[in-house]
């Protein structure tokens, strides 16, 4: 089944500051698109636009999952979004967080899926999210992004705060996702040592 993400001629500015200027790119099922650029070049803004969290001022974003075209609202709920600016509920435990979001996303085996992801990423199930280290919080964000088995992954600086085993986990999970026919857009200041890169967009500062 066809899965693709195509963005064409994307413009986004904040007041007088023009961040994205006519940016285009595409990824299809099994492909990884790498977005690189210096700090402030607009990587996070691009990923927020692709996730449906921000509206581009010009340009088009087409997302198709399993052959079905998604509008912005459907796209928001379909993507697996990882960002250092996204936090989960500090007063809930890691498992409670994943259970809550699994219910919202109608994941049929939410509790088991959450538990399996936490185990895979080496996270405790009963610790409040606020009591996690920065690296563990990044792992929890990763578990949250993968919880609903999304076909489209949007990862903004996925290796941030992670140790070597954590980075290996991200690469392994990305590899499995691509092998299963999903697509990924990964943004990072530098080129990462990723399992495969099928396209590259370099943003000017």
């Amino acid at each position: 089944m066809e899965t693709e993400l195509i963005f064409t001629d994307i413009y986004r500015s904040f007041g007088r500051l023009r961040v994205l200027r006519g940016l285009s790119g595409a990824a299809r099922g099994g492909e990884l698109l790498l977005v690189t650029g210096r700090n402030g070049s607009g990587k996070s803004t691009l990923l927020r636009c692709l996730a449906g969290l921000m509206r581009p001022q010009r340009g088009e974003i087409h997302c198709r999952v399993n052959g079905r075209a998604l509008d912005a609202a459907e796209r928001r709920r379909a993507v697996g979004f990882l960002s250092p600016e996204l936090e989960l509920y500090g007063e809930l435990t890691t498992l409670e967080n994943l259970e809550f979001f699994a219910t919202l996303r109608a994941v049929p085996d939410g509790r088991e899926r959450g538990r399996a992801l936490l185990e895979r990423l080496g996270l405790p199930t009963e610790r409040p999210a606020r009591a996690l280290s920065s690296g563990m919080r990044q792992r929890l964000r990763l578990a949250w992004a993968l919880l609903h088995r999304p076909q489209v992954l949007l990862f903004d600086e996925p290796m941030q705060n992670l140790d070597q085993p954590g980075r290996s986990d991200v690469k392994a999970l990305l590899g499995e996702h691509l092998e299963a026919g999903g697509l990924a857009v990964v943004a990072n200041p530098d080129r990462l040592d990723l399992p495969k890169v099928d396209g590259h967009v370099e943003l000017a500062a």
Partner: protein, 225 residues
């Protein structure tokens, strides 16, 4: 989205709000502390008035002022906190906007209900005011409480998106909550004095309906980019 999954999402949001509140107790303690402080200030300043006919109609006004200010202190937290601690995006990506709005409204309604259940008997007890029609007073408290919860949730959603949040709640609350409070005060005065309040009650429930429909229609536009 089916009705069942919408209800499941709404329930999950309500349960999450209560679970978070039971562990932090920020909203409930803010609301209750504010309410009890103002209540005791009023009771010390005014004292028991008994059945004084000139003062009796003013008492429901004082009650609704206490309820309004107490809820204004705690209810806007619903969305502002989500933005401040950066959990709003996770919620925005995972939940249906109308289910989020309904879940937050129900949570705020529960807070208002707890507040009213504790403050109202204390208020009338401390001031020695006899309520002629207690059942009608309870109904108007319910209707006013629903309006306060829904209106505050909607205003909180707007405030959370603003850059400058300081006085915005008060500014927006004035046009949205003023008609509701006028109706709630009129109904409460009638119930306290033993006069019929059915027309005011109907209007209050109608205003609740308008707030609910307006909230459900506007919230997705406020919440999503």
């Amino acid at each position: 989205m089916g009705m069942l999954s919408w209800l499941r999402e709404t329930g999950a949001i309500l349960a999450k709000e209560w679970r978070s509140e039971s562990r932090t107790r920020v909203a409930l303690s803010t609301v209750l502390l504010f309410a009890t402080t103002t209540l005791f200030v009023v009771s010390i300043a005014v004292g028991p008035i008994g059945g004084a006919p000139l003062v009796k109609p003013i008492m429901p006004v004082l009650l609704w002022i206490i309820l309004l200010f107490a809820t204004s202190a705690g209810l806007p937290r619903t969305f502002v906190h989500e933005e401040e601690v950066q959990t709003a995006d996770a919620l925005r990506l995972a939940g249906a906007p109308t289910a989020i709005f309904a879940g937050k409204c129900l949570y705020n309604l529960a807070l208002v209900a707890v507040l009213e259940a504790l403050v109202t008997p204390l208020f009338f007890g401390l001031l020695g005011v006899e309520v002629e029609r207690p059942l009608e007073l309870m109904t108007i408290l319910l209707a006013g409480g629903v309006g306060l919860a829904v209106g505050s949730t909607l205003i909180a959603a707007i405030v959370a998106q603003a850059q400058v949040r300081g006085t915005l709640f008060a500014v927006l609350a004035f046009p949205i909550l003023l008609p509701l409070l006028k109706l709630a005060v009129d109904g409460s005065v009638a119930a306290v004095l033993g006069e019929p309040a059915s027309a005011t009650l109907t209007l209050t429930f109608l205003y609740d309906g308008v707030l609910i429909v307006a909230g459900a229609m506007l919230f997705p536009l406020i919440w999503n980019p």
